[in-house]
């Protein structure tokens, strides 16, 4: 469904080359540019604007927008759409993300590429609907039952939000897996200028080149990555059986077989964790001589930039490390940096989530600059923990 002409159409629908837009719009633009042609959603503050933009632009370029009856349905429609051949996405926030957990597990189990943007708001429960947070970052990895390996990205400005949305689609297709784009309400509703890129590098779904009989929908990949099978989209004669039950390579239920289950789940996990280093996207600042380093991500890293500047001004040998990839967790980077510095300060808008992952892998002291209640850290609040 996607090609050069299509990209042109998307750019035409998007309009001006330079725009002053908020994060939600940037997600929608990124999606259109990446080739997303299906959005199944359900409104929720502060993610609704993504749906609204998609509802406006998708029909203009022949894509499909549908507002489903609830979030259970919206993620389901996206999985269905992906198997029917579209690059597909949904967007939600905490309460909707919680509702989607069962079907997110299905997406992992069925190895369905899709993108889910979670514009995080202050939880738990209904919480503070309009205010920002980073309280769902562990839920990405542990929100659904059983074992799976998540991919999650976290941008910290609006241009990067657009760029990482495109990247999310590319990773989803490359690894045949759901990818989570985690931003907070602050970023979702914050405006900056973005440049709509002229050229967009997209990763196109690897379709099987063998006959339906030879096609292995849930085993070793032949033409792409070894642990990622090709994707035989519906309507092309592959007659794939897709199930959330434990299945063998052909897709058939193997609900009594220890080995089939072990093979299946380990491959699904390893296709992602084997590439941990390749998937890791990190921003580093002033680490050369740093004695202490602030680790942060997303909107909080903007405050960390302030803290870095201020701290350095005061003569602290501070460094800054930002995780653009939250999952798979870049444990190797943490280990490495923790061997160089005396102390790590993890700043995040929750009561300590990624902090636990850092603490697990760091060899040095790890402090937490946590904050909840809808406001971002001031640089001072981070410096207080240094």
């Amino acid at each position: 469904m996607i090609g050069e002409i299509d990209l042109d159409k998307a750019k035409k629908a998007i309009g001006d080359r330079s725009q002053f837009i908020h994060g939600d719009t940037a997600v929608a633009y990124g999606a259109l540019l990446a080739g997303c042609r299906f959005f199944g959603g359900y409104p929720i503050t502060p993610a609704s604007e993504i749906a609204e933009k998609m509802a406006e632009l998708l029909p203009k370029i022949g894509g499909k927008y549908i507002q489903m009856e609830d979030e259970l349905g919206s993620i389901a429609s996206v999985i269905g759409s992906s198997w029917a051949g579209a690059k597909a996405m949904t967007a939600t926030s905490g309460p909707g993300f919680s509702l989607m957990q069962e079907n997110i597990g299905f997406a992992h189990m069925s190895e369905t590429p899709l993108v889910l943007a979670n514009v995080q708001r202050s939880g738990p429960s209904t919480g503070q609907p309009t205010l920002g947070a980073q309280g769902d970052v562990m839920q990405v990895q542990y929100g659904s039952h059983g074992d799976f390996a998540a991919i999650a990205l976290s941008p910290n400005n609006i241009q990067e939000t657009l760029d990482l949305t495109i990247k999310s689609f590319n990773l989803a297709e490359k690894y045949r897996t759901p990818v989570m784009l985690m931003i907070s309400a602050d970023l979702g509703h914050m405006r900056e200028m973005v440049e709509i890129p002229d050229e967009v590098e997209t990763f196109e779904r690897k379709e099987p080149k063998v006959s339906p009989e030879e096609y292995i929908p849930f085993g070793k990949g032949e033409y792409g990555k070894e642990k990622v099978p090709e994707f035989g989209i519906f309507g092309k004669g592959f007659r794939t059986y897709v199930t959330g039950l434990t299945h063998d390579e052909k897709g058939f239920p193997a609900t009594d077989d220890q080995e089939d289950h072990d093979n299946l789940i380990r491959r699904q996990v390893e296709k992602i964790t084997d590439d941990r280093e390749e998937l890791t996207d990190i921003e580093r600042r002033r680490l050369d001589d740093a004695e202490k380093v602030i680790i942060s991500y997303g909107i909080t890293s903007r405050s960390a930039m302030g803290a870095l500047k201020e701290g350095r001004n005061r003569g602290e040998k501070l460094g800054y490390l930002r995780l653009k990839t939250l999952w798979p967790f870049p444990k190797h980077v943490i280990k490495e940096i923790s061997e160089q510095v005396d102390k790590i300060i993890v700043a995040e808008l929750n009561l300590g989530q990624i902090y636990h992952k850092v603490a697990e892998h760091a060899e040095c002291e790890v402090a937490l600059a946590d904050k909840i209640g809808g406001e971002v850290h001031s640089p001072e609040e981070i410096l207080a923990e240094v």
Binding site: K64, G73, A76, I79, A86, F234, G235, R239, G244
Partner: protein
């Protein structure tokens, strides 16, 4: 349809022509995945019959198998797509219609058919069910109503008749049941039919009509669960199941006749029966058509 109740000679011939075109072995070879038979359904379970009837209906309209997707949720009946050699999506419990919505909207050329059970469809899946019907999305839903949660061992379903027994209604069910077809009609489905399997030709015909209908088709098939339901409700053999259906169903036309003409007391009893037959068949634009029109209108 009432005329099809008796086995007249001419009809036999007609039926033969219709159904005799492909026999069970050929059906299996043409439509079923290799090596999956015998299937997992219990002895005498109606789900196997539903499968056979569906395949025959597909055969009649010469359905393009490479362009067909079967979906289902979770339950005994929801295992059916695994047997048919087409693209299939065996989803989560109750959600098949939402998955199907994504499939159909994305590629309107695909034939989309859903197998579901009573619990899957209107227990946990009730919301997707009524919304799919409201949208009149062009899909065909074949709901196997066995009045029970079969797969999990016989818990009460939202279709279980009041007073019947189930593992989670060990003292008798206190809840009034849903009429699934009624709900489908209220919610907006454009083709609705209900049959029990003691009349195999009519359901086959309804499945065919449902597949042909451009909009949401809902075919409810009353199907014996010879294990979970029968065991708890003392339905000893298939004969007793037939009596069960006889007691609890009535052809829609007869029902309506009785409604008008039977004396009050008699009617009170009849009232509780389920109407069977083609209950609704209406022309209305499907969601896909409406979406496509809108796209034509706004596209750049």
């Amino acid at each position: 349809m009432a005329e099809e109740q008796k086995f007249e000679t001419e009809e036999k011939v007609e039926r033969k022509q219709k159904t005799g075109m492909i026999n069970a072995k050929e059906l299996e070879e043409k439509y079923l995945r290799k090596g999956m038979m015998p299937h997992i359904f219990c002895t005498g379970c109606g789900i196997g019959t539903v499968l056979g009837l569906t395949l025959r209906a597909m055969e009649e309209i010469d359905m393009d198998l490479d362009n067909t997707v079967f979906l289902s949720g979770i339950g005994c009946s929801s295992r059916l797509p695994g047997y048919i050699d087409v693209d299939s999506l065996h989803t989560t419990h109750g959600r098949a219609l939402a998955f199907a919505t994504g499939v159909k909207i994305t590629n309107p050329d695909l034939n989309v058919v859903i197998f579901t059970g009573d619990g899957d469809c209107i227990g946990i899946g009730g919301n997707h069910f009524i919304h799919a019907a409201r949208r009149n999305i062009d899909i065909t839903v074949i709901a196997v109503n066995n009045y029970i949660y079969g797969m999990t061992g016989g818990q009460v379903a939202p279709t279980t008749p009041e007073g019947d027994y189930a593992t989670t209604a060990p003292h008798g069910n206190v809840e009034p049941p849903f009429d699934m077809s009624e709900m489908a009609m209220s919610a907006g489905a454009t083709y609705v039919a209900r049959w029990d399997l003691t009349k195999p030709v009519q359901p086959m015909k309804s499945i065919k009509e449902g597949l042909e209908n451009k909009g949401m088709s809902f075919i409810e098939l009353l199907s014996p669960c010879t294990t979970a339901y029968a065991r708890q409700n003392k339905v000893g053999d298939i004969q007793e199941f037939w009596e069960w259906y006889d007691d609890r169903t009535m052809l829609a036309e007869e029902y309506e006749f009785e409604e008008e003409f039977s004396p009050m007391e008699e009617w009170e009893e009849i009232k509780e029966k389920m109407k069977i037959g083609v209950l609704k068949h209406e022309e209305k634009k499907s969601l896909g058509e409406r979406m496509q029109e809108k796209i034509e209108e706004v596209k750049i």
